[in-house]
């Protein structure tokens, strides 16, 4: 019966050394989890995109508006079930750094086209009936301490009011999105409220529609519908670019830069540095235990057992360190989620991240322990007993 307790005892012989190695491993794994989670957040918006929605935007620029007349034409295209418009409002609450998204939209169609947006407080009828009403995300309601019935004054950045006052919206509902592609930090209000204000001269700003979101009929061919839309408007007045929702989200992510590469290279560097450190510890341990291995073999324990004991020490050490790092990452999840609230909404440690952390830990354990373990296996009894220190 292999003396498993030796694995444990040998590590504890040099408590400080083992602790420090495990600690640096914990820090490294923690960092990897955080970096990986940032990546996951960026990708999650893309992954959760609906497959039955298309986004129609100007092919020239994100900031160019499409004529309103396009809406009727889009509804008539075969395969399109509903059309809803989204206009980026570009305002802020109290200070420019309180940044969040606001959209003017066709409210009656909004919930149909986006079933993942669910009202947790307030009612749709109330929202539809009052032109000055708005709904806000649950995260935003929490952050600014707002409730149904409160007024939310939004200072118009892109659409300033001519009287210099903020836009006052009455909160008719608070929504919660069950999927990460719509965050809980957005304000939606009536598009015709904005339009009437522009027409009457109460506000200034670009006319037209920012993007149209198309909800497709079940079984419609996305590619064909997208091509039809772009062909329809190829002659102008504004050429369009129609993409799936996933591609639309991806366009924002790719604009941030080559994040996967950046994260990957830092992660790789950290892993290599930690591997070297752990390997060093294991080699030192092996050197010290040369005599003991000789004794074990003389007593009759097999080469394979000795190999296992050595590798076991490495795996135990890295296992403790890795799990420690994972625990730190998990317990700090809430902290980071709040810290990165608006920039990286929905920060969380995904199951894949945990799996990757475990794999990285196991890999380091094996790689750091294999050389000492093989050496221990091949060690002849006489050489081992004869060695000094």
């Amino acid at each position: 019966m292999p003396p498993f307790r030796l694995v444990w005892k040998n590590l504890l012989r040099h408590r400080t050394r083992a602790l420090l190695t495990a600690a640096s491993l914990a820090v490294a794994i923690f960092l990897l989890c955080v970096l990986r989670s940032l990546l996951v957040v960026l990708e999650s918006g893309i992954k959760a995109s609906a497959s039955n929605r298309l986004i129609v935007q100007s092919s020239v620029s994100l900031f160019v508006y499409l004529p309103e007349s396009y809406e009727a034409k889009l509804e008539r295209i075969e395969g399109v079930e509903r059309v809803v418009r989204w206009n980026w409002f570009g305002g802020y609450y109290q200070e420019p750094k309180n940044f969040f998204a606001q959209f003017a939209t066709d409210v009656e169609d909004l919930f149909e086209v986006y079933p993942e947006i669910e009202l947790v407080e307030g009612s749709q009828e109330d929202f539809f009936g009052d032109r000055r009403a708005c709904v806000i995300g649950s995260e935003m309601a929490r952050k600014f301490n707002m409730r149904v019935g409160d007024t939310m004054p939004v200072i118009g950045g892109l659409f300033p009011r001519t009287d210099g006052q903020p836009w006052d919206f009455r909160i008719a509902g608070i929504y919660h999105s069950v999927k990460p592609n719509v965050d809980n930090n957005t304000l939606f209000f009536h598009a015709d409220f904005l339009q009437k204000a522009l027409e009457s001269g109460a506000a200034n700003g670009p006319e037209g529609v920012g993007i149209f979101v198309l909800r497709l009929e079940p079984g419609a061919d996305r590619v064909r519908v997208a091509e039809t839309v772009d062909a329809l408007f190829a002659g102008g007045p504004q050429r369009t670019q129609t993409t799936t929702e996933a591609e639309f989200q991806a366009q924002f992510v790719s604009m941030v830069g080559n994040v996967p590469f950046f994260v990957g290279s830092i992660g790789g560097g950290v892993l290599i540095a930690i591997l070297l450190a752990t390997l060093n510890t294991m080699l030192m341990a092996a050197r010290e235990q040369t005599r003991d291995i000789g004794v074990l073999k003389a007593l009759g324990f097999r080469d394979g057992t000795v190999f296992g004991l050595m590798l076991g020490q490495s795996m135990l050490l890295t296992g403790v360190g890795g799990m420690g790092g994972l625990l730190i990452a998990l317990s700090s999840e809430q902290f980071f989620a709040q810290l990165l609230g608006t920039a990286f909404p929905g920060y969380h440690i995904a199951a894949e991240t945990v799996v990757e952390a475990v794999i990285a830990t196991l890999l380091i354990g094996v790689l750091a322990g294999i050389v000492p373990a093989l050496r221990a296996r091949k060690l002849s009894v006489l050489t081992a007993l004869r060695s000094v220190g």
Partner: protein
């Protein structure tokens, strides 16, 4: 007080080179990451801040946070251009003022990297007079006013498709021919410039986004800012071009700095643990030597200082190695999306002496933190025990 000779520490480091290298690499990796991220941040901010002109005033619509938000109708822009008395004139008596329209348009990146947003600026001929020698042409010539020609900033020309001399860029339904590539040390080298009338028409934006002007030397700046803010006809927000550019970079710059600090701290902690580990092992292996030193008459604090010095040396070496690893990045062109303006900006990594100095100081600190405990242990050894144990 006799200090342990430096040669002892130095030679120990050389003799036990595997541990030395391990510790140095750990610290070097941390320093490399820190310097890399800070070089990115410096490259980005210096592009904007250093090149912003103090003598060029930028008029934006009141309440606008950037050019994209700001809009002046033609009439209002004309009023600003013609009536503000502080605007300087050149020798020929022309007012040094220009109105520009601005839009971020989609272009494909070269090499199939996807799409990006690129700033297009419609300018009047006066813009070139105002910026004078800041803008020079490396290829081709300037565009002819009133025609469908454009010029492209040199940095951008390499990063997007269809931007070389003689090629044609299409904006909406109108084709524009690239007739020149220009150099600018600041953000304009990531922009496409064309005639304001033709660009507004092609993009269907009949408004101007900003008015720029050179002001007379004796202008009372605070008074002018206040007056324009309360102007009844065209209330505007007034900034120097430098202030404007600085405001456009603050968010991204902050994010990069925060990222750099975060990574440095986390990796630093791991590096310190590794350093302490290796030094503890080194001390354990050198127990006999320490015993000899102590019994020779060196006081404990000399031993402590000696080992702290060794740790400091390790830190500094780690810092230098880390800096050397990242130094080749200096000057390498890269690009990023400035999410404040939502446009692609091309800039180069910039490793400044301050960054290097700060990084090496940081590395030295890591070394000292890592060496504190081992040095303490070494100093507390009793000579007889030490010589017996080894």
């Amino acid at each position: 007080m006799a200090l342990i000779p430096l040669s002892y520490n130095l030679r120990s480091l050389i003799v036990r080179w595997p541990s030395t290298i391990l510790t140095v690499l750990g610290i070097a990796a941390t320093v490399a990451v820190l310097v890399g991220v800070m070089a990115l941040q410096q490259g980005f901010t210096s592009l904007f801040r250093a090149q912003g002109r103090d003598d060029v005033a930028v008029f934006l619509r009141q309440g606008a946070t950037n050019e994209g938000d700001s809009a002046f109708t033609r009439e209002r822009a004309m009023i600003l251009m013609k009536t503000v008395p502080e605007i300087a004139e050149d020798e020929a008596g022309r007012r040094l003022v220009s109105a520009e329209c601005y839009l971020a348009v989609r272009r494909n990146k070269t090499g199939g990297g996807g799409e990006t947003n690129v700033p297009v600026r419609g300018v009047m001929p006066m813009s070139f007079v105002i910026f004078g020698r800041d803008i020079t042409f490396s290829q081709g010539r300037n565009f002819t006013p009133g025609t469908d020609e454009v010029i492209i900033g040199a940095k951008l020309a390499e990063r997007i498709e269809g931007a070389r001399l003689g090629e044609v860029l299409q904006f909406n339904t109108t084709p524009f021919r690239v007739v020149g590539i220009f150099e600018h040390d600041g953000p304009f080298s990531s922009e496409i410039w064309g005639d304001h009338d033709r660009i507004s028409e092609a993009l269907e934006r009949p408004v101007y986004n900003r008015v720029i002007a050179k002001l007379k030397d004796e202008t009372d700046w605070p008074e002018l800012v206040r007056r324009m803010d309360q102007d009844p006809q065209v209330p505007s927000k007034l900034l120097t071009e430098r202030e404007y550019l600085t405001s456009q970079t603050s968010a991204f710059s902050f994010v990069l700095s925060a990222l750099g600090v975060f990574l440095a701290v986390i990796m630093g902690i791991a590096a310190v643990f590794t350093a302490t580990n290796t030094m503890l092992t080194a001390i354990a292996a050198r127990t006999i030597e320490i015993g000899i030193l102590l019994s020779m008459g060196f006081r404990p604090h000399a031993v402590f200082l000696g080992f702290m010095l060794e740790a400091l040396l390790l830190g500094i070496m780690g810092g230098i190695v880390g800096a050397l690893i990242v130094l080749p990045l200096n000057g390498i062109q890269t690009g990023a999306m400035n999410f404040q303006t939502f446009t692609e900006v091309a800039f180069a990594f910039r490793v400044t002496p301050q960054i290097l100095f700060g990084a090496i100081v940081f590395a030295a600190m890591l070394g000292i933190l890592g060496g504190a405990i081992p040095a303490w242990r070494a100093a507390r050894m009793r000579p007889t025990e030490a010589m017996r144990r080894g």
